[in-house]
Amino acid sequence: MINLLRKDFRAGALYLLGIVLLLPIITILTIGTMIDVFGGIIMSYFIFIPAGLCIAASFLFIGIDSAYETDMTYASLPIKRSMIVYTRYISSFILALSSWILVIFTCYISMTYLNKIDRLLEMLISFRGFFVMAIFLLLVISFLQPFIFRFGTGKGIIAVMFFMFCLFLIFQIGRVLLRAINVVFKLDLSFIERFIQDILQWMFQLEAFEVYSWLAGIVLFVILMSVTISILLYNRRDL
């Protein structure tokens, strides 16, 4: 395992350097632009630019392996494919969290020395903010990984986008269906929608340590599922 992790850093050293330099710059630019143009940080956009970049960065090593098609080479070495899966998850988590810490550090610098103050930035820098963001990153990566393992990076991304699109459609159709049932059968099924909204609201009101543990538990469960699925998929994949 150590060898596999080490090889990633050996192969991607230069690219890592690029990220270490690029990420803070982009973050500062984003913060500056948002504050100057919009008057404040808009979370839904901030999710994409620095956070999205962290997710992209987490797939750096996988991307390198894919670009040079070294999958075959590694699959021929005396290592189990499941080991390859584990190390990929670990390295992508490490990359994602480290990049995010770099982003937070940049936010801190922006607030303290560049005077770009914003309430949302303050929230991100807090422990709570970091925890939520970490959960978010790990969840997204866990969601993406099985697709990458099954289809490779290129087709994998497309598969993910297609899946998201289908999910989006299902939600919209679901909502319309609920309304329709409501109208046609005079059944009030809107409680389902309210229930979902309640959960979402509950999630955004993190207070107790208990809730943190719940979330951590859920994330661990999701990661476990994801890893299991990835191993199953990768073991069956023709390289």
Partner: protein, 288 residues
């Protein structure tokens, strides 16, 4: 005598290509040539052996162990060379070695350096700047540097000059001095393997045509040449593939005596090379 490799009824569906009931084995201490035209299934078989692609049926045993269940143990004793080795092109040979070597318990750094020197490979040049021949040599150096008991090579010489091909054969002879080492070598350049191979497995269109000792094959097969007039529906049945030109015909037989009996004394028989055998079996495929 243990079989280092044993394939039994291996099947693989690949969309429009099928590998059907592939069975053959290789005894420990010998070298087998896996021959066949491009697209016949050689690479598929090798990838199946290495578990890079998943078989649809049958069993594959290496060192008498299942190639899936004991994959890690088996692969630590296998040196492999693919027809297109994939390495990080932005790294140099030394760096790549540093990545791969730790995975092998028996890595022999002295051996590696010796081979790199012998092949005249640069340590610091990045792989992107390597010629194809150099990449192959690098792959071969790596494959032979961890005391592997079984060397598997998929078209290691295609695209390489004849001088290096001979050098590679010399290397293989060195390996074979140890009677515990075995080699599987797939190629469509049969002259490479004609002399050194102990066994030959010939695959065509996903099916094994034969798998036997090379000496036996070359003794049983022969080319027969004669006048076109000698060919008719009946006599053609005794030939494997026929090639006609305006001056006569040429055909392959796997039973010289029978052919002589059927065609009579007006034919000339000649030694068949592995290439001839491949050619005529392929020709038969189109004539059927």
């Amino acid at each position: 005598m243990e079989n280092v490799l044993e394939l039994t009824n291996v099947r693989k569906n690949y969309g429009d290509f099928y590998l059907q009931d592939v069975s053959f084995s290789l005894q420990e201490g010998y070298i087998m040539g896996l021959i066949g035209p491009n697209g016949a299934g050689k690479t598929t078989i090798i990838k199946l052996i290495m578990n890079l692609i998943i078989k649809n049926g049958g069993s594959i045993k290496i060192f008498d162990k299942d190639h899936c269940k004991d994959e890690v143990e088996i692969k630590s004793r296998i040196g492999f060379v693919y027809d297109n080795p994939h390495y990080y092109e932005h790294l140099n040979l030394n760096q790549i070695k540093k990545i791969i070597a730790p995975f092998y318990k028996n890595w022999d750094e002295d051996m590696f350096q010796h081979l790199v020197k012998k092949f005249d490979l640069p340590h610091k040049k990045i792989i992107k700047k390597f010629s194809r021949g150099m990449v192959m040599k690098g792959a071969i150096a790596i494959a032979l540097s961890h005391h592997a008991d079984f060397i598997i090579m998929d078209e290691p010489t295609s695209g390489l000059d004849p001088i290096f091909r001979r050098e590679l054969l010399d290397l293989l002879y060195d390996v074979l001095q140890n009677e515990k080492k075995s080699i599987l070598f797939s190629t469509h350049i049969t002259s490479d393997i004609e002399r050194i191979a102990d066994f030959i497995t010939f695959i065509l269109d996903g099916k094994i045509i034969f798998s036997s000792a090379k000496d036996e094959i070359l003794e049983n097969y022969a080319l027969i040449k004669g006048e076109n007039a000698l060919l008719n529906e009946e006599t053609e049945n005794y030939c494997i593939g026929v090639r006609r030109n305006s001056f006569g015909f040429e055909a392959l037989t796997n039973n010289v005596l029978e052919a002589k009996a059927v065609f009579g004394k007006q034919i000339v028989t000649d030694r068949a090379t592995l290439e001839d055998i491949m050619y005529f079996y392929n020709a038969r495929r189109y004539n059927d």
